[in-house]
């Protein structure tokens, strides 16, 4: 049975499991409109977990190496918790009957999906990864059709489900090849696959990429996104647009950077190409949108493209940059969706025209929206700028200048539609007077997002990097006397745990991740071949 060490590794999952049980019990015990309480329970629970997550420290791998609680995992879990907290908080004020009466189901589904994400972030075994992936996905299908009386909602659920199932099939088909090529489901072993079987591995990883592409909504696997976002309830969409994507990215990092060892560089052209396609398609398709949620959906696709730029850097710093991007994206995108929710509640419309004259009606809400839009647009002084900057930086560090240029130029296209919303708010005259009313919890959620977007730019430009660079210096490999190392002194979260033994030459970038893998190979606990041959 798992020892105390393993419990330490599972602490967040155990806490979440307990919360699930609590909510389940509450669902059974509470009836009717009182079920509102369930939402509070879940929200508070997630908040507690979120605080707990900051106490959690990396732990040695558990389950024979299947489950790791490293920096990446902990970071991702904090992110999921933050997003979930905001999402739950925002939906507390949701007075729609379905949400009040079915609060138990709603929160159970969200929390179990969250558990799936947790495990996904920690999974280093293909089987666990797949199960976690499904555990994350299946509740989402239900949640997107949660308003099951609405034609659009069930339609969206079906589309989401169909595309999702096919993608799952493709994913697991790919994973089967990965397993076949590696003769193991352990990602560390995958990293050592002999070249003889490599075509199968390549096939497997490609197919699996499609599956992950669906989850992160990269072009052309994104097509479920706009429909689902438009139809589902907005607070849920706000959450849907960030948390599962973050989980998808974490899984991508696990599989494609940790799991392929030295061949990570091979992914650069592919990821760069996909990033380009996604950025272009997302931004272009967002241009003609009249529905704000749809617009944000497409813009979200474009953002995935930008994150893929960081991914394409296939470097440790790239990973760190994408993670930072995800953080800013959580706050910026959720915030934008929540403002849409507020306005849509008040105006009964999700169209961009509902924002007309918002600056004169509710200046603060308009300002919040403007901040979110600017952050999404990558304008300086808000978090989104730093995020874009960092992913571009990572890409530039590996010489992908063209990709940076494409990305930066398409930022301009993106700004077009963000500015259209800004125009509605600030330039056009209001259609009717009066403030836009929003519930206290929703306002709080928006406020948190504003705080995130504003604070992140101040902190993360500096403090985080500072800390990391100190870590670099402390290791004594700042190579004094050789000032011409052009790489930004940025270390990824994933690498913070274990100091690399050697600095790599330029061009080989995945050192920290590989070091981790190798270290695990030397770790006797990592061998989980308990099965007979």
């Amino acid at each position: 049975m798992p020892g105390p060490d393993a419990v330490r590794a599972f602490i967040l999952e155990i806490g979440l499991g307990a919360l699930l049980l609590l909510v389940f019990v509450a669902t059974l015990g509470i009836r009717g409109a009182e079920r509102r309480v369930i939402g509070w329970i879940a929200t508070w629970g997630v908040l507690v977990l979120a605080f707990t997550s900051f106490l959690v420290r990396p732990a040695p791998p558990a389950l024979g190496g299947m489950f790791v609680q490293d920096g990446l995992a902990i970071f991702a879990k904090r992110l999921f918790l933050a997003a979930t907290f905001i999402g739950l908080l925002a939906s507390l004020g949701n007075a729609q009957p379905a949400f009040v009466r079915r609060a138990g189901e709603y929160h159970l589904l969200i929390l179990s999906s969250l558990l799936g994400m947790f495990v996904l972030a920690s999974a280093r075994d293909l089987i666990l990864l797949f199960v976690a992936f499904e555990l994350m996905s299946i509740p989402l299908y239900v949640l997107s059709g949660f308003l099951k009386r609405q034609e659009e909602a069930v339609e969206a659920a079906l589309k989401f489900f169909l595309v999702g199932s096919v993608s799952s099939a493709v994913l697991v088909y790919g994973l089967s090849f990965v397993y076949g090529a590696a003769r193991s489901t352990d990602l560390a072993t995958v990293a050592r696959v002999s070249p003889a079987t490599e075509p199968l591995l390549a096939l497997g990883l490609l197919a699996a990429f499609a599956g992950f592409g669906f989850k992160i909504a990269a072009f052309p696997f994104h097509m479920w996104v706009p429909d689902t976002y438009e139809a589902a309830s907005t607070p849920f969409v706000a959450w849907l647009s960030v948390a599962p994507k973050a989980a998808g990215f974490v899984a991508l990092f696990r599989v494609y950077l940790e799991g392929v060892g030295d061949r990570a560089a091979a992914w650069i052209p592919l990821a760069a190409g996909l990033a380009t396609l996604t950025i272009v398609a997302g931004n272009l398709m967002a241009l003609p949108q009249q529905n704000t949620k749809r617009l944000l959906a497409y813009s979200g696709i474009a953002h995935i493209g930008y994150m893929l730029v960081g991914f394409a850097a296939a470097s440790a710093s790239g990973v760190a940059m994408v993670l930072f991007y995800l953080v800013t994206y959580v706050f910026g995108n959720m915030g934008a969706f929540l403002v849409v929710e507020a306005v849509a509640r008040s105006e009964g419309s999700e169209a961009t025209t509902a924002f007309r004259g918002l600056a004169q009606r509710s200046p603060l809400l308009a300002l919040a929206m403007l901040i979110f839009l600017l952050s999404l647009g990558g304008i300086p002084f808000v978090a989104g700028f730093w995020a874009k900057l960092y992913v571009f930086w990572a890409a530039a560090s590996v010489g992908l200048y063209w990709l940076v240029l494409v990305g930066a130029v398409l930022t301009v296209v993106a700004l077009f539609y963000y500015l259209v919303v800004a125009k509605r708010m600030y330039i056009e005259a209001p259609e009717r007077p009066g403030r836009v009313h929003l519930s206290a919890t929703l306002a709080l959620a928006v406020l948190i997002c504003v705080g995130g977007v504003v604070v992140l730019c101040h902190q993360d430009g500096g403090e985080r990097e500072q800390r990391q660079s100190r870590a670099v210096d402390a290791r004594g490999d700042s190579r004094s006397g050789e000032p011409s190392d052009p790489r930004p002194r940025l270390q990824p979260h994933v690498a913070r745990r274990r100091a690399p033994r050697e600095r790599r030459r330029q061009g080989q970038l995945l050192l920290p991740l590989q070091e981790q893998g190798r270290a695990r190979l030397r770790d006797p606990r990592s061998d989980h071949r308990v099965l007979p041959r």
């Binding site: 299947m66 799936g116 666990l128 976690a132 499904e134 099951k148 075509p199």
Partner: protein, 164 residues
């Protein structure tokens, strides 16, 4: 030709034929029946691969279970429609091209793959080992699977119930 090879060809033929029938037959009921055939054929493939336990699982849990709910669903939707379930298809050619393309793409990799390893001799019955693995290293995964099933059922229930 060994027995295994002969069996493979037969099963493969059956499997492919029934699969094609699943996607091509106009009648949905027939399609379900063909799917059952395909699943059974798959089970036989498992048998050819020396996995009788999985054959059993496939047959009992999968083929029968899936069949049951699908039939239920068809009954539910068909009766309300009150017409025969003959389903027309969308553009077959496009689908065929894309599906063929995918297959060719996969096959390209398979061809490039190194010659397949020889089939190792069977060491022992795999079933007990399988059981041990599920409660051993994969216990947590198994737990998660349980949760997943619960959640799926919860979702299905949520959708399917008509109260309110």
């Amino acid at each position: 030709m060994t027995l295994e090879a002969a069996g493979f060809w037969v099963v493969a033929a059956v499997l492919l034929a029934s699969s094609l029938a699943v996607v091509l037959t106009p009648n949905l009921f027939h399609a379900v029946l063909y799917l059952a055939a395909a699943l059974v054929a798959t089970g036989v493939v498992f048998l050819l691969l020396d996995s009788p336990f999985l054959f059993a699982v496939q047959l009992l849990l999968y083929a029968v279970g899936v069949m049951t709910i699908v039939v239920f669903a068809i009954m539910l939707t068909e009766r309300l429609v009150g017409e025969r379930i003959t389903q027309t298809s969308r553009d077959l050619l496009n689908g065929a091209v894309v599906a063929t393309g995918v297959f060719v793409g996969i096959a390209g990799f398979l061809i490039r793959a190194s010659p397949s390893p020889p089939r190792p001799p069977l060491v022992a019955d795999t079933t007990p080992a399988l059981g041990r693995a599920l409660v051993g290293p994969f216990a947590v995964t198994f737990e998660l699977l349980a949760l997943l099933l619960v959640v799926a059922l919860l979702g299905a229930l949520y959708f399917a119930r008509t109260d309110e």
